[in-house]
Symmetry: C3
Subunit: 350 residues, 3 copies
Amino acid sequence: MSESYTVAELATAVGGTVRGDGAIRLVGMAEIDQAEPDQLTWAGGGKYTKLIPTSKAGAILVPRDADPTPMPAILCAHVDSALVVVMKMFAPPQVTPAMGVHSTAVVDATARLGTDVAIGPLVVIGPGVVIGDHTHLHSGVHVGSECKIGSHCVLWDHVVIRERCVLGDRVTLDAHVVIGSDGYGYTFADGAHQRLIHGGNVEIHDDVDIGAGCTIDRAKFRSTSIGRGTKLDNLVHVGHNVQIGAHCLIMAGACIAGSTILEEGVIIGGQASVRDHVTLGRGVQVVGMSTVWSNLAAGMVVSGIPARDHREHLGELAALRRGPGLLARVKELTQRVEQLEASADHLDSR
Amino acid sequence: MSESYTVAELATAVGGTVRGDGAIRLVGMAEIDQAEPDQLTWAGGGKYTKLIPTSKAGAILVPRDADPTPMPAILCAHVDSALVVVMKMFAPPQVTPAMGVHSTAVVDATARLGTDVAIGPLVVIGPGVVIGDHTHLHSGVHVGSECKIGSHCVLWDHVVIRERCVLGDRVTLDAHVVIGSDGYGYTFADGAHQRLIHGGNVEIHDDVDIGAGCTIDRAKFRSTSIGRGTKLDNLVHVGHNVQIGAHCLIMAGACIAGSTILEEGVIIGGQASVRDHVTLGRGVQVVGMSTVWSNLAAGMVVSGIPARDHREHLGELAALRRGPGLLARVKELTQRVEQLEASADHLDSR
Amino acid sequence: MSESYTVAELATAVGGTVRGDGAIRLVGMAEIDQAEPDQLTWAGGGKYTKLIPTSKAGAILVPRDADPTPMPAILCAHVDSALVVVMKMFAPPQVTPAMGVHSTAVVDATARLGTDVAIGPLVVIGPGVVIGDHTHLHSGVHVGSECKIGSHCVLWDHVVIRERCVLGDRVTLDAHVVIGSDGYGYTFADGAHQRLIHGGNVEIHDDVDIGAGCTIDRAKFRSTSIGRGTKLDNLVHVGHNVQIGAHCLIMAGACIAGSTILEEGVIIGGQASVRDHVTLGRGVQVVGMSTVWSNLAAGMVVSGIPARDHREHLGELAALRRGPGLLARVKELTQRVEQLEASADHLDSR
C-alpha cells in the first residue's frame, strides 16, 4: 500500500547525504526501539541517540555531525524537518473525496466554489458561501450561510461551520469540529438567565489545524480569532471573543474562557484552562491541568490551580510532600520548648 | 447587513429615556473601550463606569442615576435587561432553515410535526416523533423514535437526540449535542464488564440552552433531567440519572457524574466536576477546575480537589505558598532549640 | 411499552430461586428507595441491604444467604449478574435501523457488507470497507475507505470512522464518536509547526464500548489500540499510539496522551489525565481529576496533580488543611524560643 524507497532516494528527498549503503530499500518507518531492518528510523539527540547501537533499523536519520552508526545513515541539516518529509513519503496517500460535487450534496445556488474543489456526499453548503480552490469537504460537512473558506483547506466528516465564519488558506478541521457556536453569554433579568444574542463570528487564519470535537464560539460583536499556524488538539473549547495569536499549541481538553488573549507562541497543556478576560504574553507555557486566573508576562512557565511560576509551584509541592512530617516535627519541637521553659523556670527560681 | 437605529429609537425599545442628542444614528455595538463613534456601548457599573470618560462610543446605556456622560446616554431601569434587547436588535437576523420540510430530510410517516416548523436538509426523524410548533431543526439533526420536542425549539446542525427523549419549549441545542446516549453503567461478572441496559431517557425542561458538543446520558430507569432555564456551556458531560434544577449555569468542560442532584441556581465553573450520588444545595457555587466529593449545603462556595469552603481553601493556598519558607524556619528553630538544650545542660551541670 | 413478568419468571431467567410469592407480577425496576409495589429492585450488600426493611418494592434480588425480606425475594448466586439480565428484560426493546441498506445511504460499490446488517439513513460507506454480520449503523454514520468493522457492532448516529481503522466484534460506539482522527504531532521547522503525517490507524478490539463524543487519534506508524472489553465513558480523548489493555474503565472527560500504555484492568477516573510516554501497570487506579506524570507499578492507587500514592496524598491534604494553623504555631514557637534565648543570655551573664 505505502511506497518503498532506497536510502539514497530518501537522502535526496530530505537534502541529506548518505553514509553507508545507499542501495538498501526501506518499506516503512518506526521509532528507534521498534524499527525492523526494512524500516527507517531517526535520532535527533538525547535518549534516542543512546538507543542507536541496539536499534535494528535498516537506516537512520541523524544530524550531520553524528557519530558512526551500525546501520546506514542519512546525515541531515535538521532531523526534524527531514522527518516531516519522510513521514509523508511513507504514509499511505491522504484520502480525499472525489473531485467535484457529490450528487447527494446540498449546495445552495448562490454559493461560489473555487476550482478543483472536492465536495463529498451529504455536504450542506448554505447561501452566499465562498469556497477557495483545491479545498476538500469530506462527507457531511455543513457550512452555514455567508461563510468564507480559503483555498487548500481540508474539512473532515461532519464538521459544522455556522453562519458568517471565515477560514483562511490551508486550514484543517478534523471530524466533528464546530466553528461559530453561540457564545455563552447571559444576563439575569426577570427571574431568568436571558441570552445575549451573539452577532459576531469566528475567524480562523491560515495554516491552522483544529482537532476532532473542538468547539469555537462566535464573538459578541466582532470575531473570535485563531492566529496563523496555531494548532489545536482534540476536544478543546475556545470561548467567545478569545484572541489566540500565531503559532500557539493547545493540547487536548483545554478550555480558553471568553475574551482572553493568548499572544504568539503560547503553549497550553492538556486539560489546562485559562479564565476569561486575561492576557497571556508571548511564549507563555501553561503546564497541563493548571488553571490561569490572572495575566501572565511573556515567557512565564506556570503550573498549579491557580497557576503560578512552575519552579515555585514545584517547591510548594515538595514542601507539601513534607507537610505531614513537618506537623510531627513542630509538635515534637513544641514539647522540647515546653521542657526548656520548665527548666528555665526552675533555674530562675533557684 | 445589520440594522441602524437612532439613540431615541433604541431608548424607546428598552423603555429608557434619552439624555443628550437622540437623533444620532448608530450602526452597531462594542465594549466600552473598543466602541467607535457610530456604535452603542454600555456601563452598568464597576470598571466599565470608570472607562466612560475615555470611551469614543456614540451613545451609552447607563443606570437612571448615572453621572453625566460625554456622549448621549440612554438611562435604563436595568442596564442588563436593556443589553439583551439592543444586542438582539443589532445582531444580524438569526439564520433559520427554510419553512417546511426540506426535500432531502428523512421523516418517518408516523412523525407528527407542528405548524410553522422548519426541517433542514438531511434531517432524520424517526417513528412516533412529535415536534411542536415553530420549532427549527437545522441540517443533519437526528431525532430518534418516540422523542417529543416542544415548540419554539432550535436544534443546530448534527444534533442527535436518541430514542424516547423529551424536550420542553424554547430549548436550544447547539451543534453536535448528544441527548440520550447510553449511561455508563457496568457490572463485573464472568470475567468482563457487563453493560446494564439503560431503559430510561432524558428530559430537558423549558428554556434550557445546551452548548456545542455536550453529551447528556439517559437514565437507568426514569429520566436524567435538566431543569427549566438552565444553561450549559460547551463540551459538558451529564451522567445517567442526574437531576439538574432550574436556572443552573454549568460552564465549559464540566462533568456531572451519575445520580447527582444539583438544586436550583447552582453554578459549576469550567472544567469542574461533581462525583456521583451527591447533592448540591440551592445556589451552591463550584469554582472552575474543582472536584466535589460530598454533599454541599445550600449557598456554599467551594474550590479545590476535593472541594471545600472557598475562603478556607484560599487560606490553605496562602499557607502552601509559605510552605518552603516554613520548612527552613522549622529547621532553623530546631537548631536554636538544640543550642538552648545544650546550654541548659551546661547550666544544669554547673 | 416494556414487558411485565412474574417473580417466578424473573427467577427462572436469572437462574435464582423464589422465596415468597412467585406469582406477583412486576412491570418495571427502580432503585431500592424509589421502587413501587409493582417494581423489582435489588440489594447486593452494604447500604442497599440496610434499606430493605423500608423499601416498597414488589420483589427484590438478593444473595442466596440473605436474611428474610418483607417482600418476595429472588435468591441469586450473583446479584450483579442477575441485574444485567433483568435490566435488559425490563428495558424497552433496543432501537435498530431497518434491516438492509436505507435508500438514502451512500455505499461504495466496493464495500462488502455481511448478512443481516442494518444500514440507516444517510450513512456513508467508503471504498473497500468490510462490515461483519448483524452489525447496525444508525443514521449518518460515516465509515472511511478500507475500514474493517466486525460483527454484532452497533454504531450510533453520526459516528465517524476515518480511513483504514479496524473494529472487532460486538463493539458499540455511541453518537458522535470519532475514530482515527489525525494524531497531534508537529515539529517546529522553518518558523512554523510542521505536521507529521500519521500513516497509522486505530484498532478497537472485541466488546469495547466507547461513549458519546470520544475522540481516538490514529497512530504515527502502527495502531492506536483499545483492548478487549474496555469501556470508555463520554468525551474521552485518546492520543496517537496509545495502547490501552483489556477490561479498562475510563471515565468521562479523561485524556490519555500520546504513546502511553495502560495495562489490563486500569481504571481512570473522570477528567483525570495521563501524560505521554508512560506506562500504567495492571490494575492501576487513578482518582478523578488527577494527572499522572510518570510510570506507575501494577496495582497502585494514585491521586493528585501530579499523581502520587492516594493515601500519601490524602495525608498531604490533611496537613495542608492544618497549614494555616501551623504557620501560627511556628510563629508562636519562635517567640517562645526568643524568650528562652533572652533568659539564657541573662542567666549566662549572671
